[in-house]
Symmetry: C2
Subunit: 423 residues, 2 copies
C-alpha cells in the first residue's frame, strides 16, 4: 500500500522508518531520569520500574474523576523523557503480517504533536483504565502467580483530551474506502512506545482495527489528562486511550501506529495479558501462549474500597460502604449488591453513579457506589458483586491463572471492627 505524498504537507511528510529500539539488558536500563513523585497516596509495588497503586480509601474518596496524584502508575521500564516539540508519531500500513519491529516495506507518514493539536479536532473522553493484573493478590493467595502482586487499586478514571484515532486514520491513510471497509474486519492496529522495557525492545500492543475505526469506540490519542498536559508517568507526550479495554492496550509514549493483518507480536500482546487456563503453570506456559487469545475488553468487576479488611471504625452508627464497579466494552453497570453474611443474603446498594459518554452513550467510566449499613460486626463478611448490561456477573471464588489477570471474583472484606460506645 502506498500513501500519496504531498511534500508541502507537514502533517503527512514522508519519513524514514521509525527509529529502531534495541533491546536493552536489565543492566543497561537508565533509571536516573525518573520524575519526582509524591508517594504518600500510593502503595509502591516496585521502584524500578515504578509501579504503584493508590490506597483504596483515597481512591474512592477522590471522586469520579481521579486526580493524577491518585491515579495508579504502571510501567515496564524507565520513564522516557521525550521532547514534546521534537516528538514524531509514525503511521503506516503493512500489506503482509509483521513479525518484528522493523517493516522496511512500509511507507511511513509522520505527524508532530503540533500537527496533532492543530490539524484535527480534539475531544474529551472520560474513561477508566484498569490494569489486567488488578486484584492479582487474590489469585496469588490461591497459588504462585507471575507478575506484580497488585491489590485492587490499579484502576482509575480520568477525562482524556485528544484526537480520535479514526479521524487521523481516515485523513492520513489514502486507503480506498472499499479496501478500508474490508480491512476493518480483519486488520489490527499495532501501537508502539518510544521507550525501553525489560521484556522487549519497547512497549507494544495492538487493538482490532474495528475498535479503532468504530465511531462509537472512542479510541483517542490523548495529550491531556484531566485538563493538564500528560505527565511523564502517564505517558507524555502522547498515549492511546482504548476505552473498555484492559489498560495494557492504552499505550503510553506513543511513537508508532501500524495497521497490519495480524496482532502485534510484542511480548505484551503474545506472552502476557492472557488468561492462561488453570492447568497451565510456569512449567508448561511456553506451549500455551499461542493457543490462548490475548485480552481486549474487560470483564465485570466490583471492589469494596472502604472499609478495608482488618480496619477499626470508630463510633457507633451507620457505616458507609463504598466501592467501584466497571465492565468492559462500554457495557454499563446495572446493579451492585452487598452482603454482610459472606454472600448468603444480598441487598441493593443505595446509589450507583455512572455516566455514559454523552456522545457515544457507552459506559467507559467506572461506577462509584455506596451503601450505608446500620453497623458492622466483627463477624461480618462484607461481600460485593456487580452485574453488567449483558447480564454478566462475577464468579464467587477466584479462578487461578498463572499470569494472575482478570480476577473478578466476589470482593470480600473481613475482620472489620466497629468500636461501639459501650465497648
Amino acid at each position: 500500500m502506498n500513501f500519496d505524498h504531498d511534500p508541502s504537507d507537514t502533517a503527512s511528510r514522508r519519513a524514514c522508518s521509525p527509529p529502531a529500539h534495541r533491546r536493552l539488558a536489565d543492566s543497561e536500563m537508565d533509571y536516573s531520569q525518573e520524575p519526582t513523585r509524591p508517594l504518600t497516596n500510593f502503595i509502591v509495588r516496585n521502584h524500578k520500574p515504578f509501579n504503584a497503586e493508590p490506597h483504596l480509601d483515597l481512591l474512592v474518596n477522590a471522586g469520579t474523576i481521579t486526580p493524577a496524584d491518585f491515579f495508579f502508575k504502571r510501567n515496564h521500564g524507565p520513564i522516557p523523557n521525550i521532547h514534546f516539540d521534537q516528538h514524531l508519531v509514525y503511521l503506516g500500513v503493512a500489506d503482509t503480517p509483521c513479525n518484528g519491529h522493523g517493516q522496511d516495506n512500509v511507507q511511513w507518514k509522520t505527524f508532530s504533536m503540533h500537527d496533532l493539536m492543530t490539524r484535527w479536532p480534539s475531544v474529551d473522553i472520560a474513561a477508566s483504565l484498569q490494569c489486567a493484573g488488578n486484584r492479582r493478590d487474590g489469585l496469588a493467595k490461591v497459588k504462585t502467580v507471575k507478575g506484580v502482586i497488585w491489590g485492587p487499586g490499579t484502576i482509575s478514571n480520568a477525562v482524556w483530551t485528544g484526537v480520535r484515532l479514526c479521524t487521523i486514520l481516515s485523513d492520513l491513510l489514502n486507503v480506498p474506502k472499499d479496501l478500508l471497509h474490508d480491512m476493518v474486519r480483519t486488520y489490527h492496529v499495532s501501537l508502539e512506545a518510544d521507550d525501553h522495557v525489560h521484556e522487549d525492545c519497547c512497549y507494544g500492543s495492538s487493538i482490532p482495527l474495528r475498535k479503532a475505526m468504530d465511531p462509537l469506540g472512542d479510541v483517542i490519542l490523548a495529550y491531556k489528562m484531566n485538563g493538564e498536559m500528560l505527565s511523564r508517568d502517564h505517558g507524555a507526550p502522547l498515549r492511546v486511550i482504548v476505552p473498555g479495554y484492559i489498560g495494557a492496550r492504552s499505550v503510553k509514549y506513543l511513537q508508532k501506529i501500524l495497521l497490519q493483518p495480524n496482532e502485534s507480536r510484542s511480548f505484551f500482546q503474545v506472552r502476557d495479558y492472557k488468561i492462561l487456563p488453570p492447568w497451565v503453570n510456569s512449567d508448561n506456559a511456553d506451549s500455551a501462549w499461542d493457543s490462548t487469545p490475548s485480552l481486549g475488553e474487560m470483564n465485570v468487576q466490583c471492589v469494596i474500597c472502604t472499609p478495608s479488611e482488618h480496619c477499626t471504625i470508630k463510633g457507633a452508627g451507620p457505616v458507609s460502604v463504598k466501592g467501584y464497579a466497571i465492565s468492559g466494552g462500554g457495557r454499563g453497570i446495572y446493579r451492585v449488591e452487598l452482603s454482610l453474611d459472606g454472600g448468603k443474603t444480598w441487598e441493593p446498594v443505595d446509589k450507583i453513579e455512572q455516566t455514559p459518554d454523552p456522545k457515544s452513550g457507552m459506559y467507559w467510566a467506572w461506577a462509584l457506589w455506596e451503601k450505608k449499613v446500620p453497623r458492622i460486626r466483627a463477624s461480618d463478611e462484607i461481600v460485593a458483586r456487580a452485574y453488567d448490561s449483558a447480564g454478566n456477573t462475577q464468579p464467587e471464588m477466584p479462578i487461578w491463572n498463572y499470569r494472575g489477570v482478570m480476577n473478578n471474583a466476589w470482593f470480600r472484606v473481613k475482620d472489620v471492627a466497629q468500636l461501639q460506645p459501650n465497648m
Copy 2:
C-alpha cells in the same frame, strides 16, 4: 421528520398508518389455524401458545446448524397466517417519544416481500437464538418464578437469509447523514409483529439504533432459515434477526419498524425480559420494572447436552460429553472446562467448534464442544463452565430472579450411571 416521496417508487409508496392491533381477550384468541408440527423431537411446555424445546441430545447431535425440526419454538399467541404476497412492512421515524402503538404524526413508508427480495442485496448470517428464559428451570428450583419453565434447550443455531436492516434504513429513510449520525447514539428501533398475543396488542420489542446501523452488527430482516423460506412457527414471512441479543428481540411476523427516541413501550420490552433484583418478587415487581434495564446482549452460557441427568450409559469405555456454549455481543467462547467432581478440579474439553461470521468476524453462532472422559461413576457430578473473549465466566450457583431470565450458573449433571461389563 418527513420522507421525500416518489409516487412512482413502489418500494417507498406513502402508506396509511399500519393497521392497529386491538388487544384481544384470552377468550378471543384463535388457535384453530395452528400449523401441524411433528412433536417427537420436542418437549412441549405449552400448546396454546405453542412453546417447545428440543431434547438436548437431539439438539447437540443435530450439529452446528440446527434443522428447523429441532429448532426451539417460542410463542406468545396463535401463529398468524400471513399472506406472503400481501404482507407489507411499515417503516417510519418518530420525532417524539412514542407511548403507544399508534403514531399519527409519523409518515410511513412500506415495502412488500417482493420489494425486500428484489430491491436490496441479501446476505446469509449464521446466528444462534437463545430465549432469555433458557434454563429457567434452574431458577425455579430455588424459588417460584414467573414464566414458562424452560429447560436448557431454548437455543438453536441457523443460517438466516435476508437484507441488512442498515441497508434498508439508509436507502429508504431520507434522514440527513449528520442527523442520522446523531440519532444512532440515542434512538431505538421499535419492531412490531403482525400478530395477537396474550400480554399486549401485538408482540413488540426494540433495539438500539446503534445496533441496527452497525455494519458489523449484522441485524437482518430474514425471510429464509437454513435455505428454506421461513416457516410459520419461525416467523413467516419475515423476522428480524438480532445476532448477539436475547431471542426476544428477533421479532417474528415483522410488520412495523419505527425509529423513535425511546425504547419500545411494548410489554415485552418494559414488563418482561429484565433481570429483576433478587429481592423483587410478585409482591413488589410492579415498582421495580421501570428502574430495571431491559435486556439486550446475552451473557456467557454453557450447557452439557449429553449425557443427561439420571441417564444410564450402556457399555464400558470412554464417554463423550457434549454441549454448547455461547456469549452475547459477538464475543467468542475462549475456553470450556469440564469437572467430574462437582467443580473442585477442571480439565479442558477436547474440542470447541465455533465459527465467526466470515464478514464481520463476530461470534454470533454458538460453540459446540466435546470431551471424551474415560468413564463416569454414579457419584460423579459433571460440571461445565465457559469463558468468553472479555474474560467473563459464569457464576457457580444460580442467582434467582423473579422472571427467571439469563440463568447462566455452572451447568451440573448428576446421577449418570455407566453400566460396566462386570456389573
